[in-house]
């Protein structure tokens, strides 16, 4: 066993981990169950988290490689009761059905919008291309990200 020091949702943590653990294993064991397991092989994106500001498949990242890193999981997005605009937009646009792919999808959108405030539809599709969904057909998720982008722009302009 080893001790892993990293920051999760702004909180400095020291976690026990086995050298062979992935970031997904460690996060779920620590109670961050919003990080979902869908395939374990990086094909579905349900385990998406932000690692040092970049969206990654947590199931493909060896926990040891996250030593000293800053992680953002879905649990860290809302500010208490205040949802993030992306989360609000997903609800308003009907982009959540079973909700299993939602955390990963939202975080991929968060990564995109943190670096591109005016994404085209093509850029949105590319940003979530690694997040599979079987319920929605992606239509309302793409629209939700567009809505979130608009709302975040006007919030900034205010």
């Amino acid at each position: 066993m080893m001790s892993l020091e990293l920051t999760i949702n702004g909180e400095r943590r020291a976690l026990a981990a086995h050298p062979g653990d992935t970031l997904l294993d460690v996060l779920r064991r620590e109670g961050y169950v919003g990080v979902k397991k869908g395939c374990g092989s990086g094909d579905c994106g349900a385990c998406t988290v932000l690692l040092n500001g970049r969206a990654v498949n947590a199931c493909l990242v060896l926990a040891a490689r996250a030593e000293g890193a800053s992680i953002l999981t879905i649990e860290g997005l809302a500010d208490g009761d205040r949802l993030h605009p992306i989360q609000e937009a997903f609800l308003d646009e009907g982009a959540v059905q079973c909700g299993y792919c939602t955390p990963g999808m939202v975080l991929s959108a968060y990564d995109l919008l943190s670096r591109n405030a005016t994404p085209s539809e093509g850029e949105i599709r590319e940003a979530i291309s690694g997040n599979l969904c079987r319920c929605t057909g992606y239509v309302k998720q793409i629209r939700a990200i567009q809505t979130a982008a608009e709302r975040m722009r006007s919030e900034r302009d205010e």
């Binding site: 779920r28 961050y32 169950v33 919003g34 990080v35 979902k36 397991k37 869908g38 395939c39 374990g40 092989s41 094909d43 579905c44 349900a46 999981t73 879905i74 649990e75 997005l77 809302a78 949802l83 989360q87 997903f90 609800l91 308003d92 646009e93 009907g94 982009a95 959540v96 059905q97 079973c98 909700g99 299993y100 792919c101 939602t102 955390p103 939202v106 949105i124 599709r125 590319e126 979530i128 291309s129 690694g130 997040n131 599979l132 969904c133 079987r134 319920c135 929605t136 057909g137 992606y138 239509v139 309302k140 998720q141 793409i142």
Partner: protein, 779 residues
């Protein structure tokens, strides 16, 4: 009997936010695996390496010695009870041909043993230490081989029941007819015939099957499971484990997608048995590979359709013959087969002669089960292809041919009565149908007249448009039952307890909307608890597009009863007769504007005067299954150099009655359509010559992603179904039936080839294109 509610609605018809939405979007612990699993035994299943073999000897001694291993299950220490895993109402129309662990294995991946251990690693080590001696048997890997003379018998056991003819591997046989199809064809001016084949496909829900079992403090077995059918789980687990139903509680938390895969009692028996034997909680979840191989799949089918029509385009004779590969076990075999005809043929009720016949056949291959569309998907492929061919032969626009033939309001079809879900159906008359408008709107939106036959070329891409129409059903008439309980709280809110199973479909939300509409409150005043067999009344579960129509009606009735009780309490307060009172905006309002709040009403009933709990339970058994109707139009582009097919624009105009929540109804359609596009273009489980799945991963089983979605237009064309809650029908399944035939017909328009085998993968399309060139003498 109260007045049937009609528009204008207050809550119904609004796209309110999902009642469980906030928790989902925050990633709150809502799914089976999101709980404290410390202390739970981890369970792994050993799958068979052979497609067909007898288990001669099992040696688990070495495995049992591995530290951390607690219990190993085999056929030697588990109940032998034959049952079906199909989540259907009792008595299930599927054969009792499954055992928890059998002495025989019937497909690669079939259960051989299970290990419960303290850790996953120990369980895996134990799996590899289990020694099994098999007697390999010849396997049958196709329908034709399975039915051939002298074929090995897959279910040769004495104690299975409900198999049509086990000695010939035939699970089910259906044959119904109306009139005389042969004479009908002879009388027809034009006859077309086509045979289509569909492939092995898997639902690929992003959350695989998972269950968590434990004993509560009263030693009752609790199963927290990702299921579509909690009450069937309870009953079938009781049967399989040999314990009374009252000892079991089934709870369905949030489910990460089902689509039919979870209309099955797949893992709960194993977990339940382990918990009973060890007293410990057990956790069992399928890996993604196991989800492909050892969960459930779509029924691959070969379906032949023959149509005879008169010169005026009206169908005179329809024949559909379906042969269904039902894999190693017969769950849903009969009913999917029957549905292939029962949800397709009534659409074209003008034909006086019709026949549907076919068989569901065992093979030593992965097990198909329920999958959105449930046979209709496989049936519409040849039916709508044949209609397209018929139109061409008659010199008619395909759209016009549909117009002349589809069922309309006030009409019936003899098929409704002859063919139901595995047995006779129920006669019914269509009371709502806006299919004509769906067709007109869809044709306009795609640009049918401008684009059809033009074969617009853009580099290597040739464009074409195609269309199809379809119907489905809303629940299983006279068989499905749903119930709802509503009880009132003294702040004017209500608990809505429903057996109905929200698997991401949003049923919790729309049922809350229906109740809220009756009670004159916002949907947020309804606190929904669903799918807990201890707390919620019965519901068959989420299948057959039944939740809105059947569960919704139960909710509406319960709400109406509660409304009457509320009014009865308000009468002495407002000093007005009940007939003059209305529920509006969280108040009881009398003539002249006198009002009392619902909170005050409940406080009175709870604490002050003639106290009683305002509450009611109501049930619904539908007497008919009003079909939703759908017109699909697609523009595709075919790359004639590579065979790649892209859907450019897809239009689906659907009549689902009143849409309780329009955004959610659209979402159901969009998801079903994109799933159907994958089924049409890229999804295929590949099987080796030994019956092994060659691509059990999302890496090589390609489902559509965000880069693959076309410009997708779903148009809700409203109608009012008088037998439905608030005028609603259903929308859950129908969308998935569209893409295959619509895309096939569009490909024909673009490049003149008829594809009759899915998926329309590039290599297959290119081969067809090149074959066509050779046929036409081009080089």
């Amino acid at each position: 009997m109260s007045d049937r509610p009609r528009e204008p609605f207050v809550v119904v018809g609004q796209s309110v936010r999902k009642v469980d939405g906030v928790g989902l979007v925050k990633g709150n612990p809502k799914f089976v695996a999101d709980t404290d699993l410390s202390g739970a035994l981890h369970v792994r299943i050993l799958g068979s390496p052979h497609a067909h073999a007898r288990i001669l000897r099992m040696d688990v001694s070495a495995a049992e010695q591995i530290p951390g291993v607690v219990l190993i299950l085999t056929h030697e220490n588990t109940p032998p009870t034959r049952h079906t895993t199909a989540g259907q109402g009792y008595p299930e129309p599927s054969p009792y041909d499954a055992r928890m662990f059998d002495t025989k294995v019937r497909f690669v991946g079939d259960r051989v043993a299970a290990v419960a251990a303290e850790t996953e690693e120990a369980a895996d080590e134990a799996l590899r230490a289990i020694h099994v001696t098999y007697e390999e048997l010849p396997a049958v890997l196709s329908i034709d081989d399975a039915r051939a003379e002298g074929a090995p018998v897959i279910h040769d056991e004495k104690d299975s029941t409900g198999i049509y003819e086990a000695g010939r591997n035939i699970v089910a046989d259906v044959d119904i007819d109306v009139g005389d199809v042969e004479r009908g064809f002879a009388e027809s001016d034009v006859v077309v015939e086509t045979t289509c084949e569909t492939q092995y496909a898997q639902h690929a829900p992003i959350e695989t099957h998972v269950v968590h079992s434990y004993l509560d403090s009263d030693d009752r077995l609790v199963l927290r499971t990702s299921t579509q059918v909690p009450f069937h789980v309870r009953r079938i687990v009781a049967q399989t484990l040999g314990i009374p139903i009252r000892r079991i509680r089934v709870i369905k938390p949030r489910v990460g997608g089902g689509f039919g895969a979870k209309q099955e009692v797949l893992l709960e028996d194993i977990a339940g048995w382990i918990t009973l034997k060890t007293g410990r909680p057990a956790f069992l979840s399928l890996s993604r590979a196991e989800e492909f191989v050892a969960a459930r799949t779509r029924h691959p089918m070969r379906v032949r359709v023959k149509l005879g029509a008169k010169r005026d385009g009206v169908l005179h004779s329809i024949e559909m013959e379906a042969t269904s590969n039902t894999g190693a076990y017969g769950a849903h075999g009969l009913t999917v087969l029957a549905n292939t005809g029962s949800k397709t043929l009534p659409l074209y009720n003008k034909a006086q002669n019709a026949r549907f016949y076919g068989q569901a056949v065992y093979t030593n291959l992965p097990v198909p089960g329920a999958y959105r569309g449930y046979g209709a998907t496989q049936g519409y492929f040849p039916l709508e292809t044949a209609m397209d061919e018929l139109a061409e032969r008659l010199g008619l626009d395909p759209v016009e041919l549909r117009r002349r033939n589809h069922i309309r309001v006030g009409e019936t079809s003899p098929i409704f009565e002859k063919l139901g879900e595995g047995r006779e159906g129920v006669s019914q008359t269509v009371k709502s149908c806006e299919l004509e408008r769906c067709i007109a709107i869809g044709a306009e939106r795609i640009g049918w007249r401008e684009k059809r036959g033009t074969r617009r070329r853009e580099g290597a891409w040739v464009h074409g448009v195609g269309m199809s129409i379809m119907m489905q059903g809303s629940g299983i008439p006279q068989i499905d039952m749903a119930a709802a309980t509503i009880k009132m709280n003294e702040d004017g809110s209500f608990n809505l307890l429903v057996g109905a199973t929200d698997i991401g479909t949003g049923s919790d939300t729309i049922l809350a909307q229906i109740a809220a509409e009756v009670l004159g409150v916002p949907a947020s005043r309804m606190i929904v608890t669903s799918s807990d067999t201890d707390l919620t009344p019965f519901d068959v579960g989420a299948y057959a597009s039944s939740t809105t129509y059947v569960s919704g009606m139960a909710v509406q009735r319960a709400a109406e009863k509660v409304r009457e009780q509320i009014l009865s309490v308000a009468v002495p307060v407002l000093k007005a007769p009940a007939e003059g009172l209305r529920l509006v905006d969280e108040h009881v309002v009398g003539p002249g504007g006198a009002r009392v709040s619902l909170a005050q009403v409940c406080q009175r009933a709870m604490y002050s005067s003639d106290q009683f709990q305002i509450a009611a339970t109501a049930s619904c058994v539908p007497s008919e299954s009003p079909p939703p109707f759908l017109a699909n139009f697609a523009e595709v582009a075919v790359d004639v150099e590579t065979g790649v097919v892209k859907v450019v624009h897809y239009v689906a105009a659907v009549d689902c009655g009143v849409a309780i929540n329009p955004l959610m109804a659209e979402g159901q359609m969009e998801g079903a359509i994109v799933n159907g596009i994958g089924y049409a273009l890229s999804e295929e489980m590949l099987l080796s010559s030994t019956g092994r799945v060659r691509n059990p991963s999302l890496f090589d089983y390609k489902i559509p992603g965000a880069l693959d979605v076309p410009d997708l237009d779903v148009i809700l064309v409203g109608s009012y179904e008088p037998t439905g809650p608030m005028g609603a029908k259903s929308v859950g399944e129908i969308g998935i039936n569209g893409p295959i035939p619509t895309i096939a017909n569009a490909i024909y328009d673009a490049v003149g080839i008829r594809l009759r085998k899915t998926p329309f993968a590039p290599e297959r399309v290119l081969a067809a294109l090149q074959g066509e060139k050779v046929r036409k003498g081009e080089r």
